[in-house]
Symmetry: C2
Subunit: 340 residues, 2 copies
Amino acid sequence: VVTQRDVARRAGVSVRTVSNVVNDFEYVAEETRARVQRALDELGYRPNLLARGLSSGRSGLIALILPLNVPYFHELSEHVVVEAERRGYTVLIDRTDGEVARERALVGRTDRSALFDGIIFNPIGVSEAELRSQSGDTPVVLLGEKPVGASFDHVLVDDVAAAKAVTEHLIGLGRQRIAAIGRPVKARSLTARHRTDGYRQALAAAGREFDPNLVATVQMFQRADGAQAMTRLLESGNPPDAVFCYNDLMALGALRALLTRGYRVPDDVALAGFDDIEDGRYSTPTLTTVAPDKQEIATLAIDLLTRRLDGDTSPPQTCSASWRVVPRESTAPPPSEGQR
Amino acid sequence: VVTQRDVARRAGVSVRTVSNVVNDFEYVAEETRARVQRALDELGYRPNLLARGLSSGRSGLIALILPLNVPYFHELSEHVVVEAERRGYTVLIDRTDGEVARERALVGRTDRSALFDGIIFNPIGVSEAELRSQSGDTPVVLLGEKPVGASFDHVLVDDVAAAKAVTEHLIGLGRQRIAAIGRPVKARSLTARHRTDGYRQALAAAGREFDPNLVATVQMFQRADGAQAMTRLLESGNPPDAVFCYNDLMALGALRALLTRGYRVPDDVALAGFDDIEDGRYSTPTLTTVAPDKQEIATLAIDLLTRRLDGDTSPPQTCSASWRVVPRESTAPPPSEGQR
DNA sequence: CTGAAAGCGCTTACAG
DNA sequence: CTGAAAGCGCTTACAG
């Protein structure tokens, strides 16, 4: 490998000057710069990130720690990568895939703070307290769920309001038995709780009775869970005529379960999800959903993080990104009224 | 931050000994080890990856450079991450999303070889020659397409054979007009060429005429491309009764186009894809596809890479992973014969 | 504008 | 088994 020392020798200058040229500092004589640049090119010098990081204390790297197997975060990651690049940072993605052990390994054990200038993280199992003790002075921005007493910067969407809005959309269709799929069997997911809250608030606001039998539980937020939960609802003897799934993935699973059993969507059962993942735009029927503004979320997260990297020490902030209900075929009103 | 020096001072030993304990070397007196370990714990020492990497020349990090927006690679990445972890390596993912500029930036400019012990890469736009000049002595394993004169380790599936097999499956259904979707408009993708070859070989082997009008071109391998190509085929006046899409994503787009226009799948048009992505198992109908063994591909790639990391300098190898045709509803024979 | 030198936090022959 | 010391390749006050 070619080092700055090699270049310095060739150009007849000190490494200090080479470093100045490489990093594009001002105050380098034009003549010197040209000479060094030539040596740089001729030797094919490329800076060693590790050495630079070790001595400067900054690597230009941001860790994005996500359950990449969740399409929502998968899609979000694209925006984060692009947005970070715009500010001169490189994002490296760490898959946690919802495994707490993996999350812990990433956050704990070795000091990744040396490697990464900052971290953007969607924690599933690691608590804020745990994270605080491990993250040292590396800026961390958390995505989603914000527990009380949070001491990190957060970016989130108002799950309660969004869930309420999409449930109201279902109510507006004239549906009578509106089910919800997504209450976790055991994990205490704030997201799920908030969406349940929104769902109940919408029912209450419409003067509807809350029926616990219409809330189906799941293990995870995957397609299979949605399919199973839907199947249970259908076999309950008194099937719903509309379902709000807490994410699109489960809605897609539910859709599959419905179509397999001969139910028509939306005619027999209207269906709505959450996340606006691409699959939902190509399913048949296409899927009504809540679309969080992913671009905005990414921008907010990177904004928050870079501000910290620039030395901002103000108290932790929470930014709320916008969202909207996107009606599609899965909740489209029947072609002509009263046909059912 | 706590350094080894801090720990050494506290334990009353040299940093050499601390390093020995941290790295779990043998030849450390039990008593010493215990004392150092206590200091380590009390101070909450965590090694600095950068410093370790710089002085040891190894970081334990593997870069996985992929178009993560392609579900096939997205699913593959999970296996690679797990497989690498099993060998003690950490995988960091770099999204290229099919953008050549991003690929170049990752491979060129800064010397990432200092940061990563090895690279697993699915190149879209960067040529092998270019890669060779940039990668230095960092081991690289390439995923997919293998050009002639390749000088890197490769892991791939036999696209020709697989495409031939799935086309034969379509022929076996008794379909007469079998279309193919996926020939690129301009890019010279080996993958697409191989799949076209396999498609043609199957037709030829069955004594069928090759009809260029039945091969639809696409810009990319995304859903929208599949939908558009399908639409064009349907509007061509003489629609196909079966379609082999070069990946599942396009097949899903094609499915959407078919269902939207009132065609029944598989009754009117049978449909097959390639990749076996999860979406295809939940669409209605579920999607017949070619399933490359992703676990095997990941294992082969990591095997190849770690072997190089252990000093193997044998000539570049090419490993072929297995695959199989997975028949699902989209090519299921009609319930009763001759019904059409 | 540029040089000589210290230092980032580790690893690792070299001695003992 | 352990210490003193050099070195990994850079950056960056400190002088000049």
